[in-house]
Subunit: 317 residues, 2 copies
């Protein structure tokens, strides 16, 4: 475990300070959510782009066909079984159990999920919204098991990516491909629509190797109850449940979380974080070394070559 701490680089202007000396606060976001040239034809209906800009997220149903979903599910199962016997940092287990919760850097572990990450329905849309070539800041498979799926508390991804990874601007987004049917009760992602327009400054000093804790239960980078109550009353709250094959696209600064899952229905998805190439990570905005490569791409930044896949491309080897 790396316990050295680094000096914060004070020569840089930090446009989104949080933690350290910061006090809990809600400040306006300084940058757009949709970075596309307005003259460019969007890959989906323009009303959906406007909805994304307003709400900070979009749920698209039936993006992947049942055949594609079946192949991706088979690959998901194959990787989970493989992961159960792997003692690798990329494999995250549920607190107090050996059940696989997430597998990180899945685009490097699986040719199938590498092709999915580059699929034009995902990477093409991401490149349009971010107005740039894109690369994968992170990729993972999430398994929220039935009966014992843990909750994940409210947070903005950008707060963490900015402070711990040194991502300069909120010019990134996440895309989640549902590989199981999500219902309101099996722990779907809950979001506060429109919350992406506010930056929620958090309190607390980032501890060494914070990511190891935060992957199981976030304790730093957590908004105050007061700020969350304000945002929830301002924005409301909806779930993003949809059947297998649905796609959820959400801005990096959207406030989101999920309740526990005591139902028998597992919830699995493939999860990709796309960052604009011009927004590549720098040194972290805290006094800690960067998080490891499998959580936040730094050394292996490669622009994605967008591709068109068919169901056969997703067939497990």
């Amino acid at each position: 475990m790396n316990t050295e701490t680094l000096e914060r680089d004070t020569s840089r202007v930090d446009l989104y300070p949080s933690r350290g000396d910061s006090k809990a606060a809600i400040v306006p976001r300084k940058h757009p959510c949709v970075w596309a040239d307005p003259a460019t034809q969007p890959p989906v209906d323009r009303s959906l782009i406007e909805q994304y800009e307003r709400d900070g997220f979009l749920v698209l149903r039936n993006v992947f066909t049942p055949d594609e979903v079946a192949h991706l599910q088979a690959e998901l199962d194959r990787l989970r079984h493989q992961a159960e016997s792997l003692e690798r940092p990329e494999v995250i287990t549920e607190k107090g159990s050996r059940k696989v919760r997430s597998i990180f850097k899945v685009h490097a572990l699986s040719a199938v999920f590498a092709k999915l990450a580059a699929d034009e329905r995902l990477a093409g849309l991401a490149a349009y919204l971010l107005g740039d070539d894109v690369y994968l800041h992170q990729s993972r498979l999430n398994y929220k098991p039935g009966f014992h799926g843990k909750e994940f508390y409210w947070h903005s991804d950008f707060e963490t990516w900015h402070i711990e990874d040194g991502m300069p601007l909120p010019r990134a987004l996440s895309i989640s491909v549902s590989l199981t049917d999500n219902t309101p009760h099996n722990g779907p992602l809950l979001v506060m629509p429109g919350s992406h327009k506010h930056y929620v400054v958090c309190e607390g000093e980032t501890p060494p190797d914070n990511y190891q804790m935060s992957l199981q239960a976030q304790e730093v980078g957590v908004p105050s109850d007061e700020n969350l109550a304000w945002l929830a009353n301002d924005s409301g709250l909806v779930d993003t449940a949809g059947p297998a094959g649905s796609v959820l696209i959400f801005d990096c600064n959207l406030m989101h979380g999920s309740n526990s899952n005591i139902t028998h229905l597992p919830r699995s998805n493939a999860f990709f974080v796309y960052n604009a190439l011009s927004n590549a990570v720098q040194a972290p905005f805290c006094n800690q070394p960067p998080r490891p490569e499998f959580i936040a791409t730094r050394d292996e930044i490669t622009p994605l070559v967008v591709r068109r896949n068919t169901a056969d491309d997703f067939r497990p080897a």
Copy 2:
């Protein structure tokens, strides 16, 4: 803490064994859910009684008027503030926090909630369904705070009441009066419709003072994953969310639980367990002394005198 253990009374026939030497299993319930004389006129539409018999629960909306709800909410708040400064066993706090989760034996602490417990809309219906005079086996106020409400795992109340309290037969039911709006996402009670017709035998030895643990997170009297999966596939799963003023009636053997609540919306209710007078508790069906009086009435068994209330009856003193 009482650590003495008692010998199980082997002279009695235990019609619903569980824990101890028992292996996890699902067995048929041996007794009816509705005990009313069919010739008696029900206090609600007969189709609702049939629905209750089939599903094991019933949600009735608008049972209490907005005025009544407002008074009950005021009394709820008054008792919570009072409870925060009380170090009494009746007051249960959230694990790892001082926030009040439940206040037990509320019919003895509050004249308002005593009147509510005896209200003909609740106690009258309970007496009809159980075909007997009824008494309060337990009463409590539940506060599921916003942001940090904990989950409550799947269980049948009757399994606990039988084994730990010595309740002979499943001739009891619970009624929950919603005092806040319940949504699908603020941790509403989830139930498996029809599961009350199966008795789920659990494994494990009942430890001393198990109730102190089980009030925060149940660890004994928990069905196996395999049995839960069978029941969930057989029964399905629904939530019982409803606006403030709704009433949920459910059979003592219905499988139920609730997810965590990360939303800003608290979830509060008044909760009464009615038992048939002829089904009064005996010695526990495990080698432990009975649970305390505030959790399970034993010494103070008194048939309820059903009464008709108006909003003024619920006005806090």
